[in-house]
């Protein structure tokens, strides 16, 4: 049978376009609904007030602050460790069966359901280390959850730095560490930040890992130390959507809107930093 190249071309184009639309349209629709229903709720009072009347009125400030603390804590824990691990794996470890298994295991860890991390955090940080349900436990749990993402993307970023840079640096008499510090790491920054962005978004949005380790159902004050419990946006959203009856739709969508905006804003900062680094580096 003769194939008509024009027809197969049209079919391929149609399939690819459909797939793209299937991705874009639902996401766009969700965004649209959240903006449409959530935007009217946004006011200074909504953002900077504590929840009142059993969370049916007032604002969500403690949840915003809680989420910012948790995400910062998670990044502060996971970024240094993840980066150092990635440097070891990509620059120092030998390429053998063991390191390949380790690398594969790390990639797979990022697919573990978040509730498993939640249980792990409960057992290790809350109970074993006796941190209790606290910002510390929650941050560490979230940090462990995003470690695989940070390690994997950082490793890829380090490995994509051209081998010739390392060779020249060594040939000029630099030691291995000087080469990594001065040449490899600066050139891997954009990729490392990409991993951080991904981890950040995930840490901000997950409910399950904080459920057992930090999240307070209702705590109308700001946390005083890292050993306090805290409210957090995703959990608060879950609570007012399912656990508390008759919460105004406006407040629910407003909370979702703030969560989205927060993640978007944090991403934006990282994207700007990445862009500035990338502009300097071209090879």
């Amino acid at each position: 049978m003769m194939r008509n190249p024009h027809r197969t071309q049209r079919i391929a184009f149609f399939l690819l376009l459909t797939a793209t639309l299937l991705i874009v349209v639902p996401v766009g629709y969700i965004l649209l609904v959240i903006i449409q229903k959530g935007l009217p709720a946004i006011s200074w009072q909504f953002i900077f007030d504590i929840p009142r009347h059993g969370m049916k009125a007032g604002g969500i400030f403690p949840a915003i602050v809680g989420t910012i603390y948790l995400v910062s804590g998670a990044i502060a824990f996971a970024l240094p460790i993840g980066l150092l691990g990635a440097v070891y794996l990509s620059e120092y470890s030998r390429d053998n069966i063991l390191t390949r298994i380790i690398k594969l295991a790390i990639v797979n860890l990022s697919g573990v359901p978040s509730v498993v991390y939640g249980l792990f955090g409960l057992a290790l940080f809350v109970v074993f280390f006796k941190f209790g349900a606290s910002i510390l436990s929650g941050s560490l749990t979230l940090g462990i959850m995003i470690l695989p993402i940070i390690i994997t993307t950082s490793r890829e970023a380090l490995e994509s730095v051209p081998q010739s840079f390392r060779e020249v640096s060594l040939s000029l008499g630099a030691s291995k560490w000087q080469t990594i510090r001065n040449i490899v790491l600066p050139n891997a920054v954009p990729g490392i930040l990409t991993g951080t962005i991904l981890g950040l978004g995930r840490a901000a949005g997950e409910t399950a890992p904080i459920l057992f380790t930090v999240a307070a159902f209702y705590l109308p004050q700001l946390p005083g130390s890292i050993f306090d419990q805290a409210m957090a946006l995703p959990y608060h959203l879950y609570v007012i959507s399912t656990q508390v009856p008759n919460v105004d739709e406006k407040i629910r969508y407003g909370t979702a809107f703030v969560l989205l905006a927060l993640v978007l804003f944090m991403n934006l900062v990282a994207i700007i930093i990445r862009y500035r680094f990338r502009k300097r580096k071209k090879w």
Binding site: E167, V168, A174
Partner: protein, 251 residues
């Protein structure tokens, strides 16, 4: 005076015998060319002199390589010192994605930590002058080095190297990515530099070897077939294989 002497040098990549009992003397303040067909081991030989082969797993060497009378193949050799003394120019010009200025002072910063600004400025000026780039680039030292032309990049790499005051310049096909004008200017530069440095160049451009070098070694399948004055190798080679290669029977 012999700057580098190899005695019964052998090198294996795992089971592949890449360099076979090479004995040669590389003289100071001369340009020595190493020629031979692809895969004959000439780049490998070059990379023995600054121990760059160490980066490859499974490399084994025996014999001796004396640089200024000291065997550099020993386990106690200080690679940092060796590589400061024996520098390398690579086939593809490979400046770092930094400014022209920062490229040149890279080694200085690494080796000495804090250095005064005027000292660095002086190093940059002297290095660029010795590769004849100063007049072209003195007003754009802060520009990214990756914007330069290929030839300028290669000169910059040479400047970066001599900023660290090496004795020996190893050049691994330094002109193979350059056009004929660029090539002839870099060759001119090499003649200039040999007054102060020992230069060893690997090339599979025989005409280049004939043009720039004082001594020439011909390698084939890991063996150094013939080594001697360039005029002699190119006009009256002793070995039949050298003659066949020079006259273009294979290669």
């Amino acid at each position: 005076m012999s700057k580098i002497i190899t005695k019964n040098l052998n090198l294996w990549y795992a089971n592949f015998h890449a360099i076979k009992s090479v004995n040669a003397c590389f003289e100071a303040n001369r340009i020595t060319a190493v020629i031979g067909p692809s895969g004959c081991g000439k780049s490998t030989l070059l990379r023995v002199f600054n121990r760059m082969n160490d980066l490859i797993e499974g490399v084994r060497t025996d014999g001796e390589v004396l640089v200024d009378g000291e065997n550099i193949l020993g386990a106690h050799t200080d690679l940092v010192e060796l590589r400061k003394k024996v520098g390398m120019v690579f086939q593809r010009p490979n400046p770092f994605p930094l400014s022209i200025y920062e490229n040149i002072v890279f080694g200085e910063r690494i080796h000495h930590g804090f250095i005064r600004r005027y000292e660095l400025d002086e190093i940059v000026e002297n290095s660029l002058k010795s590769v004849l780039l100063w007049d072209e680039l003195k007003d754009e030292l802060k520009e990214p080095a990756l914007r330069l032309s290929l030839e300028q990049k290669q000169r910059l790499c040479i400047a970066r190297l001599i900023a660290g005051k090496p004795d020996v310049l190893l050049m691994d096909e330094p002109c193979s990515t350059l056009d004929p004008q660029g090539t002839s200017r870099v060759e001119e530069l090499m003649r200039e530099l040999k007054n102060n440095y020992t230069i060893i160049i690997v090339t599979h451009n025989m005409q280049q070897a004939a043009r720039v070098s004082d001594d020439t070694g011909f390698m084939l399948l890991g063996e150094l077939v013939e080594f001697g004055k360039t005029e002699k190798i190119f006009t009256a080679p002793e070995d039949k294989r050298t003659e066949d290669y020079i006259t273009g029977r294979y290669g």
